[in-house]
Amino acid sequence: MKGNPEFTRNLWLEAKPSRLIAMVALLGALFLLVGTRSGLGDTLSNTALMAYVAIIFIWGNRLAANSVIQEVNNGTWDSQRMSAISPWKMAIGKLYGGTVYVWFGGLICLGVYWLAQSKGGYSPRLMQTTVIYLGCGLLSHIISLIVSLVAIRKRRAYGRLRVWLYQFIGLAAAAPILFLGTSVVDRYKWGIDSLTEMSWYEMRFPQFGFTATAIAIFVVWGIVGACRMMRVELLSRNGPFLWLGFTVFTAIFVAGIHVPARSAGMFRMFPLFENSLSYFMTIGSIVILLLAYVIALAEPKDKSVFTMLRRYAGERRLRNFFELLPRSASTLALALVIIVATGAWGFFDADQIGAGKRNVRSTMIFLFAARDIGFITLMSLWRPSPRADMTALVCLALSYSLVPALFFASGIYALRPLFQPVFSGDPYLNLALIGIETVTVYLILAFTIRSVVQPETA
């Protein structure tokens, strides 16, 4: 970190002696008050963990989200973009330099937690809780930083409300992992041994070890993702393969986790035997489609992208073309490949039932996702503003909920497959309807791109 100018600058700003003393005094007073009333034990350790959550997850996420946005708002970001600081150093400097003060406070809290809990000696739970809380804190800060980096590609001025939003997204993303992780620790605490193992691709793993490893892996992915986002801000280009690698990794990871409730739901929707290859591939394709939505909302979709794509295609600069090609398109293509492969495999998989029905349903879900992503792109071209994505999301939410309900109330059932995946009735007719709708969306998109893309010369 010593050779990282951004980290050093943040240290100058965040870790001033007066601030460090204030943090020690504040937390010291809190823990002294609780400790003198209840002594060492659960009350003090719970207070320490609550203080950790408040400092790391609420305050820290705000600092992480603000680390870039504040520079944009204060007019210092352009100088940083023109500097020689590497994307890696900039991302690490912002991630850990910008939050160094809250980590100082957070580590004090964890120290008090250890002190309060270790009165009877070391226990595995101590280490497990510490690892889970540290990992979730890192992950939530990374997500807040990534969300703010995504945001600054779309607009160049931010109010406090938006920073709160990015802070909340980081918190929301880390909360389920924290909940899962702490529940793992609690199960261990209460001796529910049967729940301390989990299944991943039919292999049994200690639940704590699995959770901690997963958090560590996604922290690494998150840091790499933040660096890649920073590369774009610092005017470098990214190839498409890392995102696709992350997509495939996440699909493989999620598909293998055994969740009993999910297995039952999957069987109802796609007649599949659990733990078959088709089962894993179908879950994987759904994960990839969900990530396609995420990236479609995150990436810029203005006419400049399509103008440059046309230029690169015209000049046969394929490398530049694929660097700029919307990741949502390549992600959709990847999902399609897996769905087709799953369908093909189904005909050879003697253990499977209803392969034809399953393929129709998978294709239908793919077409809905493709239609939605086409529509999100269309909205960005029709209404070129930072609110275009939100408008598209509201429209899609209405089309999935209110519109079918209105049709239903009016007794018009035939049009419902245009708005929701409908698995009852004639599946091929339903598939044809959403197919026509998706093709129509992409024809309109192609026409819109042709009309908005302007010639490059005056």
Binding site: P5, T76, S79, S304, P384, T457, A458
Partner: protein
């Protein structure tokens, strides 16, 4: 130094630059002027590589700025019209961060900080917080940050806005001294009179197009000055005669005589004048071309309105 080819840039609702072509010559201070919305800031951001154009290219000493932005940025300095400094850091910390961010050699950071502070007359405020400085001093600090790595090419977008007359005068002297050190400078401003003090060239933008690009009064772009010869009465052979004289080039006819580029010292100018008089030319005056930046600007704007 900077070659701009067919630069096109679109905002979502309108085209900002329509195929800009121009060259910024080394060692010049180019005034980038034009009415609001002409595309000045967009052009500067494209040249700086901060904004990717839809078409065309910007070459910095033969290197494509948008293909290799980070290589070019090491030799560029930029001050945005909406600049900022880190208010909670001291001037010394701000400059140290800038030096390290621009990868200045570790041993040269501390001397570089002092040198930049001296150049901007900030040396007595090195330990003041940036947030405590006046607008003019913050501006100086921002410029010091932009030049701490001694770039070859400096871009300043509206550097004088909000400055008092004294601070503007300091800025003027600074830019002249930076040019003397070999820096090429592109400066955008609305304050034409002030640009005239230090600019050598003028680039006028109008509606996203180059309306004019020329060296300014007294500056011909290389060695030499522009001179005006006024006659008491017409002398038809004047142009032909001038073209035969040593040090004279770019001769053009004017209403009252001729304009020319002259390379030579005062004695050479005296000899040229004597030669003209010896040949019977009715010279009534010999003067430097004093057409001001403001005159050129308003002439071009008027010509644009008329067309």
């Amino acid at each position: 130094m900077i070659d701009i080819h067919d630069l096109v840039f679109d905002y979502p609702d309108k085209r900002a630059l329509f195929g800009i072509n121009c060259t910024i010559r080394p060692g010049s201070i180019t005034a980038l002027v034009g009415p609001n919305g002409a595309g000045k800031t967009t052009l500067i951001r494209c040249v700086a590589g901060l904004t990717v154009p839809f078409g065309g290219s910007v070459d910095f000493d033969g290197v494509d700025v948008h293909a290799f932005p980070r290589e070019c940025h090491r030799r560029m300095g930029y001050l945005s019209d909406f600049f900022g400094v880190y208010d909670d850091l001291t001037v010394r910390q701000c400059l140290t961060h800038a030096a390290r961010a621009y990868d200045v050699d570790r041993d040269m950071v501390a001397p570089g900080v002092v040198a930049a502070a001296q150049k901007l007359e900030l040396e007595d405020r090195l330990d003041h917080k940036a947030g405590e400085l006046s607008r003019g001093l913050r501006q100086r600090l921002a410029i010091a940050q932009a030049i701490i790595h001694t770039p070859d090419f400096l871009m300043l977008d509206e550097p004088a806005s909000g400055l008092d007359p004294e601070a503007r005068n300091t800025l003027s002297r600074l830019l002249t001294s930076l040019r003397a050190d070999g820096m090429t400078i592109l400066v955008s401003s609305h304050i034409l009179a002030e640009l005239e003090d230090y600019c050598t060239d003028m680039l006028i933008l109008r509606d996203g197009r180059v309306a004019d690009h020329r060296p300014l009064a007294g500056s011909t772009g290389d060695k030499g000055i522009r001179l005006m010869i006024d006659l008491a009465e017409p002398f038809p052979a004047l142009i032909t005669l001038l073209q035969t004289l040593d040090g004279v080039s770019q001769v053009t006819k004017t209403d009252d005589g001729a304009a020319l580029k002259f390379a030579g010292d005062g004695k050479a100018r005296h000899l040229m004048l004597r030669a003209l008089i010896d040949k019977g030319v009715p010279v009534s005056g010999l003067r430097e071309d004093q057409m001001s930046l403001q005159q050129v600007y308003f002439d071009r704007m008027a010509a644009g309105d008329a067309s």
